[in-house]
Symmetry: C2
Subunit: 193 residues, 2 copies
Amino acid sequence: MDPHLLLKTLRERHHFPQEEFQKFILLFQERFVPKNELLFQQDSVVKHLAFVLKGCLRQYHNTPEGTERTIFFAEEGWWCGEMDSFINRTPSTMSMQALEDCQLIYLNRENWEYATRTIPDYALYQIINRGHTVAKLKNMLSNMATETPDEKYRRILKESPHWINRIPQYHIASYLGVTPETLSRIRKRNRHL
Amino acid sequence: MDPHLLLKTLRERHHFPQEEFQKFILLFQERFVPKNELLFQQDSVVKHLAFVLKGCLRQYHNTPEGTERTIFFAEEGWWCGEMDSFINRTPSTMSMQALEDCQLIYLNRENWEYATRTIPDYALYQIINRGHTVAKLKNMLSNMATETPDEKYRRILKESPHWINRIPQYHIASYLGVTPETLSRIRKRNRHL
DNA sequence: GTAAAAAATTGATTTGAATCAAGAAAGTTC
DNA sequence: GAACTTTCTTGATTCAAATCAATTTTTTAC
């Protein structure tokens, strides 16, 4: 296993000593998830906290009306989990699906608790990182309500252009909150960009 | 100062020993914020992490197009801050405004850091609580994109009916992502509820 | 209590995305 | 590489919320 990506991620917004990392990495297990498989499922308790070494996944919610809503995409260097479900052992409101064959490493609940209790820098990392996640989600919430569909698409072009080639268009449409037909027309309108 | 609401909140999803709380509460300062005043402002670094003892506030974002988008309302027992800005000392993307005269207690950055470092149960509280916040924001994101305006309004009627009498309608409209005119018509349609 | 300002309601019209309905293109499987 | 499936595109139509505009109601300030 190549742990460098994990260490790099842990050090993004704070220091993380090498010695602590040695201890931390031992708590992980490796896992291969084939394309289309679900890493965890809505209405079930999430048992693992996974980190993406290779591949791409999406987190989504099935609405009562039978539609699907994609909340985010996780790529290399992302955590994918549902902490509320994982920590409190409550049913998740989200599912997570591999969009490609994925190489993950993950912690189970027991090892997560042990790591959080005994590695203060990991505890701090989680606080800082989650603060960042919350800020990003709030911005998304604001953008989703105020931007026009064209603006939303252009934001992706600007912030995550590689998604266009990596992720099926109908999933991007769901992420943007528009129908696939509309996204197709938006792309046509913005083809000059 | 009546610290009971804070202790109750800290104990919502995890234990929090009385002794640790005694130490914790000393780090807070009291503050009165009059109606309409801003607790912190977009594009500035957030200097405090506040807890609402009495009153009601809203967090919102000013878009480049000049519109305003309300993200959430904070009432008694809520934290109001912008952790990403507060922790990393980066400009906030959100503003926070008092909708009523508010009684708050708050931590400055220094005391927050001290508390997080020396009170393990507070560190753990933050991890657990933030996980919950993330889950709620994800659900909101899903709801905002899939629910009809009528469904959104009925969700508020169900989950936070007291908002109807406490919060001006045009702020609720902004929170739901519709115009005030539309919310007025929704209310008319749903008057029988 | 009155005047002024802010918020909410109601109506008429416009607009743009959803929906419905085929087809075309790309990807997968044997 | 042919057959099948999935994804994407394009067109016609519908519909619901935004917008524009005016009035009523409520709140605030003096």
